[in-house]
């Protein structure tokens, strides 16, 4: 029965009140709702990489986390975060890429790090490590406050108490005061008994001045296990320790490294420029015994036998010379060939050695060329192919590319083979730069420039803000840093610090000759430096660091636990990328740029109106205020330490850190860096126009580019006044009457017989075509094909780029023959171990605390071995494999480690590889600290727990447990403290990797300091065996007596100690880094040549 419409309505009319039944889903849109959504749109007009600068203080962006949880804009899933974007600089390698910290203004946490579009080097881009900085900042295992070894406990026992920054400052300050007082009263030993030992600097200036103001020779570094080999090769050519390639415009990128995709100097910046070049048609050639990522994508891979790369450089050079295809114009203009042709003594020496058949009569350039042709004639492709074990057709291909590329060839010599092999300085920079220079690829567009042309670091230059600017030159020379056996080492011999401290025989020998060498370091600062783990012979480091007779007071400045932290007296948590002030620059392209690292939360707070109680401790206060922890920064700490060492100023240290604006107060970091940045002329000018201070400019933008297109700096003119007859160098007018000029036109100060001794020369300029040009910072002002300095220091064999070809030469020239040369590999199971390659998203010490980096590194960092080798030895994938480390100089076996084998095609036969970025260990999972009611986790998701046993000089380590996934909760009762940041670390319980990977191979390596550069020669000869029934992956066994003997042999059998001419400990034109020394400090006591000539 159908009801009619009317019936419908009547029946329903009043009865039900249907309107009230509805759900109320339909609503009229109001203006408010629309306005709120006004800035959000699904279809933006354009997509930008970064928000506009004028919105950086107040940028609203939807939270990605909230969006995904609630469906996004269509479903009410939008929560806008109020950001303040604060620029800073990454601290995970030395590339100094720009970062921005996106600070959530409501919660005062950093939500993410992205890049900095103002930074012309990094171009707003970053690598995985840059983005992972967030996971380091909120790492649940980071140390939230200063720690001190429990009184009464032994070093390494693992008993810690919580302490305060004030207590640390007081204790350290007093201890240092004692030593410095003695030093100022003339105690020679005291001038060498404090040590600041830096691992990862991440700064250009500041810390070096800090150490300088203490007055003694106190500055050590990690460089000699890093880049000494790379540096010496370049220093001997141009006086500059590294090249600065113009990758982006290059035609041929010829790497004996892995800069296209792996290497740390300067990783993503260089990789980006190389990618740009290749998009324009450039070719990439990579020399590497292992298929690095760079080699994997290269146009040509030369799988060279480690240490033989010089053969390829010289073979290429040789053919260019024989075919007269070298760049004649450049070579004639900028090689110091005149010096060689005039030096008849040396030419006769070459003849005696059979390198040339006769001494030419003339001294023309063509005579020079015919000498070169003769020297390098035997370096044929056939010979090179045999020496390097690279198929000869690849060498032919390379040569074609070299010809095609003209003067646009780029390369970079830093680590890789320079860090792996004895003589690496020769097989990398010395012969590599030779090839570059022969083609004229030095300095121009698409070629290879030099680092000092492009770096712009001003961190030391803030003296205008303090009562006193520059201290006097240091009048001491610490043999613990620069032992006499390595006069031309690039940087300190830090790898043998514990050995030198323990080597009484060595000390007594030199004391007899008048040197004063302490046997103890009274106060030692390790800064972002983990020598126990990263150095060779780590157990020796443990032995010595724990000895209170060798190290008085030890302090580790580090945000996290590490193997070294375990054995020191104080652990002081200083911050990471977004937690500290630094000025940093890097020569990543032909531009001069500089960047500013900042504690972003402090900066945000201040911008929002916060005022610190103590302006000299603002960073510490800020970090406490936002609950990050009692985390401080280096700069403010050092300033306050200067006041703790010298409270009344009587030691003369305080004045360097006292504010000129507010005398009686420590200088603030803002004052300091404002003064530093004011020394940059372009920046200063812009700021004057804009009406802001240079500090404010850098605070808001994070980076500044002073000059672009910086090429051929050697051709730049030096101001010359014909009336005064003087040239202007570094702001001073120097009359030519005080100078000599040599056959090349090099202008140098007359003193100490500099005309005769290249080692004494201070180059001011180079006279060419009637003008004064900058030239190169070498004794001859030119690129030194021939380095007379090396002759003066007793190394005539290596004064020119050379490489041994015959068995006889291999014996004579053992110093430049790789210690893992194939002639040493006589056993069936002998291999070269390459331990120095990178996992591209790791660093040595700090990546273990970054959950995102650990996650992508879970590859069971195995021992990579070629499939044919594995088959031959019966080794299968995943099996334990034992590597016994043999020193080829002495034949001594120092120990072994057990890794996991992984057969592959991505490595050359005869070589195995295992990265040094993994193999971290801890002895305890959690540490209870007195004064705090929650245990501190020790690298719980990045390391393995081990058992260490010691039996006399034999150390054994075995892995016991892996990673610890856990629920991260704040169990402590300190309401202000957000550590361990449970909100950020909800997923730590999802840690899915059972153990980290790799083995602590470094411990088995003895120190092998290269006899000239001092570089730790990292590659090792190993004998490989299948693991036995008792061998477990992760086992390490070392005999520190054996490692000691190896160090002694490398020192005594290979080095040629100072003094050079005039008692010089070192050539004057290869100055020591960090701070200036007096002239007398440069000379050994008891030798002729101590003079009163000061600089």
């Amino acid at each position: 029965m159908r009801t009619t419409r009317r019936n419908f309505l009547k029946t329903v009319a009043a009865a039900v009140g249907g309107a009230a039944l509805v759900k109320g889903a339909v609503e009229k849109t109001t203006n408010q709702a629309v306005a709120e959504e006004a800035n959000l749109t699904f279809t933006p007009q354009h997509l930008d990489y970064y928000p506009p600068f004028d919105k950086w203080n107040d940028w609203k962006e939807p939270s990605g986390d909230y969006w995904k949880k609630h469906g996004g804009a269509l479903r009410n899933g939008v929560k806008l975060i109020n950001y303040m974007i604060v620029p800073t600089v990454c601290s995970n390698c030395e590339a100094a890429c720009g970062l921005t910290a996106w600070v959530d203004k409501d919660e005062m946490v950093v939500r993410k790090f992205m890049g900095n579009p103002f930074h012309t080097g990094s171009r707003g881009r970053n690598c995985a490590k840059g983005y992972a900085a967030l996971s380091q900042m909120y790492d649940p295992d980071r140390i939230p406050f200063p720690l001190k070894r429990a009184p009464g406990s032994k070093r390494g026992e693992g008993k810690w108490v919580r302490t305060t920054w004030d207590e640390a400052l007081k204790t350290i300050g007093e201890r240092m005061r004692e030593v410095i007082k003695k030093a100022k009263n003339g105690d020679e030993y005291a001038k060498k008994m404090i040590m600041y030992h830096v691992g990862r600097p991440n700064y250009n200036g500041f810390q070096p001045r800090v150490v300088w103001t203490w007055g003694g020779d106190y500055h050590n570094s990690h460089t000699n296990f890093c880049s000494s080999g790379g540096r010496l090769g370049s220093i001997t050519w141009s006086g500059d320790d590294r090249t600065s390639p113009d990758f982006a415009n290059s035609r041929l990128i010829f790497l004996s490294s892995s800069h296209a995709a792996d290497a740390g100097h300067y990783f993503q910046q260089h990789a980006g420029y190389i990618a740009d070049a290749r998009a324009k048609g450039a070719k990439l050639v990579v020399m590497d015994p292992r298929l690095s990522n760079s080699a994997g994508m290269a146009d040509l891979w030369l799988p060279t036998w480690p240490g033989t790369e010089a053969a390829i450089f010289l073979a290429m050079a040789s053919r260019l010379l024989q075919e007269d295809k070298y760049n004649r114009k450049f070579v004639e203009r900028w090689f110091n060939w005149k010096t060689l042709m005039k030096d008849k003594d040396y030419l006769n020496y070459l003849k005696k050695e059979g390198i040339i058949s006769k001494v030419p009569e003339g001294e023309t350039f063509d005579d020079f060329i015919s000498v070169l042709k003769e020297i390098y004639a035997p370096y044929t492709f056939e010979w090179a192919a045999e020496e390097t074990k690279v198929p000869i057709d690849r060498l032919e291909k390379l040569y074609e590319m070299i010809l095609w590329a003209g003067d646009r060839i780029t390369s970079y010599f830093w680590r890789a083979q320079a860090a792996g092999n004895r003589g690496g300085w020769m097989s990398a920079g010395r012969t590599g730069n030779f090839l570059l220079a022969l083609t004229g690829s030095i300095g121009g567009v698409g070629g290879t420039g030099w680092h000092h042309w492009h770096a712009l670091g001003v961190g030391n230059n803030g003296g205008a803000s303090t009562l006193k600017d520059k201290p006097k030159p240091v009048d001491a020379w610490s043999e613990l840093l620069w032992p006499p056996e390595w006069p031309i080492a690039a940087y300190e011999l830090s790898i043998i610090l514990p050995h030198l401290l323990s080597d009484d025989e060595w000390r007594k020998k030199w004391e007899k000759r008048g040197l004063k060498i302490p046997d103890k370091v009274e106060v030692w600062f390790g800064r972002m430096y983990n020598p126990v783990w990263t150095n060779p012979d780590g157990f020796r480091w443990i032995e010595t660091l724990t000895d209170e007779n060798k190290f008085g007071l030890t302090i580790h400045m580090s945000p996290t636990w590490s193997e070294t932290s375990w054995y020191v007296d104080y652990i002081l948590p200083v911050g990471l990328a977004g937690e500290r002030h630094d000025n940093q620059t890097a020569e990543t392209k032909p531009e001069r740029w500089t960047a500013f690292r900042q504690p972003v939360l402090r900066v945000a707070l201040k911008k929002m109106g916060w005022k610190p109680e103590n302006p000299a401790r603002a960073t510490l206060e800020a970090h406490k205020k936002v609950g990050l922890g009692e985390v401080w920064e280096d700069d403010e700490f050092w300033i306050n330490l200067a006041w703790a060492i010298d409270p009344d100023g009587s030691l003369g240290i305080r004045q360097y850190w006292e504010s000129k604006k507010n005398p009686g107060q420590p200088v603030t970091v803002e004052e300091w860096y404002n003064a530093c940045f004011s020394t940059i002329p372009g920046l200063k000018k812009i700021c004057e126009k804009m009406g802001i201070t240079p500090y404010e400019y850098m605070r808001d933008r994070g980076a500044w580019t002073e000059e672009t297109n910086v090429y051929n700096v050697m051709e730049r003119e030096v101001p010359y006044d014909p009336v005064k007859k003087a040239i202007k160098v570094k702001g001073k007018w120097i009359p030519l009457s005080e100078c000599d000029i040599d056959e090349n036109g090099a202008v140098f100060l007359k003193h100490h017989n500099a005309k005769k001794y290249h080692s004494e020369r201070h180059i001011l300029a180079v006279k060419k075509d009637g003008k004064f040009l900058k030239g190169f910072h070498t004794p001859t002002g030119h690129l030194e094909y021939y380095s007379k300095t090396l002759v003066e220091f007793g190394w005539p064999e290596y004064a020119i780029p050379i490489y041994p070809r015959t068995d006889d030469q291999r014996k004579k020239w053992i110093h430049i023959l790789s210690h893992v040369h194939h002639s040493y590999m006589n056993e069936e199971n002998a291999f070269v171990l390459n331990p120095i390659f990178r996992l591209v998203y790791n660093i040595h010490t700090r990546s273990v605390n970054a959950k995102w980096l650990m996650e992508i590194s879970q590859n069971h960092n195995p021992v990579w071995i070629h499939e044919s080798d594995a088959k031959r030895l019966g080794i299968k994938r995943g099996e334990p494999v034992k590597l016994r480390v043999i020193d080829t100089l002495t034949g001594i076996e120092t120990g072994y480690f057990v890794g996991m084998a992984m057969p592959t095609q991505a490595i050359r036969p005869g070589v195995v590889a295992c990265s040094h970025h993994q193999g971290r260990w801890r002895v305890r999972d959690f540490v209870k600290v007195e004064g705090f009611d929650q245990g501190l986790g020790v690298m719980t998701f990045g390391s393995t727990r081990v058992n260490i046993e010691r039996d006399g000089n034999t150390w054994k380590m075995r892995t016991v447990e892996g990673t610890i996934p856990r629920e991260v909760k704040a169990k402590h009762h300190e309401k202000w403290l957000k550590w361990p940041y449970p909100e950020f670390n909800e997923d730590i319980k999802e840690v899915w990797w059972k153990a980290t990977t790799g083995v602590w191979q470094n411990a088995v390596f003895p120190p092998n300091p290269d006899p000239l550069s001092g570089m730790q020669c990292w590659h090792k000869k190993v004998l490989i065996e299948k693991g036995g029934p008792d061998d477990k992956i992760g086992d390490v066994v070392v005999n520190t007596d054996a490692t000691f003997k190896v160090y002694q042999a490398w020192r005594d059998k290979l080095t040629r100690p100072a003094p050079g001419p005039n008692g010089l400990r070192r050539p004057k034109w290869m100055p020591r880094p960090w701070y200036p020394h007096t002239d007398s400090a440069y000379r050994m006591p008891g030798t002729a040549g101590h003079s009163s000539h000061e600089e």
């Binding site: 419409r5 329903v12 249907g18 039944l21 759900k23 889903a25 849109t29 709702a33």
Partner: protein, 211 residues
């Protein structure tokens, strides 16, 4: 001419009532209301004859029969969404491109889906509620004698019926009648279908007549 105010109010009630019945399972309160009201029962001829309707406990009726039927019909078999019927692949389209949503927006309405369990704004219950809102506005306009507004609103209602709710619901509700296992939902579908058709006719008639 019958009282237009009353008529409009009745329409509001009807739309609201039907919206409620279709958007969610029925609740005992509403069910009791129906049971007790003779006039309402007129809308449910078959349900009136249904034994269980009178004999079973209301709660149990709801839980064991009506909810099951609701789920069977509307959740598992015939999705009560316009977009399912309108596009080729039978997708529910909850996005901003949904024509019904566009219609709402164009006329100044937004949908807060959080108030219902509907997945999309073109659920039949929401469309009915929308009609109710339009008619409510018409009533307001009538009360203040705003002729133009009344006309405008009726235009929109007509358009919506023609393009949306009077369109796809025909085959839809027929399908529901087919699947319904309880007389209750059979009646609901039938009543809705009839009402919508007659409402459109009503609006056409109004147009032809002078106001």
């Amino acid at each position: 001419m019958e009282n237009i105010i009353e008529m409009t109010q009745a329409r509001i009630n009807m739309y609201g009532f039907l919206s409620r019945l279709l958007i969610e399972e029925v609740d005992p309160f509403t069910l009791n209301k129906i049971k007790e009201n003779e006039d309402l029962l007129e809308l449910f001829p078959n349900t009136k004859e249904w034994e269980d309707f009178w004999e079973k406990d209301t709660m149990k009726l709801v839980e064991e029969d009506l909810n099951v039927d609701f789920t069977t019909i509307f959740i598992l078999n015939v999705y009560p969404y316009e977009s399912v019927f309108v596009n080729d692949e039978g997708h529910i389209n909850p996005t901003i491109t949904n024509p019904t949503l566009i219609f709402y927006r164009e006329h100044g309405y937004s949908i807060d889906l959080n108030k219902t369990r509907a997945l999309s704004p073109d659920h039949i219950g929401v469309e009915l509620e929308f009609m109710m809102n339009l008619v409510q506005e018409e009533l307001n306009a009538l009360a203040r004698e705003d002729e133009n507004e009344v006309k405008r609103l009726r235009e929109i209602q007509k358009k919506f019926l023609e393009e949306h709710i009077g369109n796809w619901t025909v085959p839809y509700l027929l399908a529901v009648k087919d699947i319904a296992e309880t007389p209750f939902y059979y009646d609901v579908a039938d009543a809705t279908l009839e009402f919508l058709m007659s409402d459109l006719e009503y609006l056409y008639n109004l147009e032809e007549q002078p106001a």
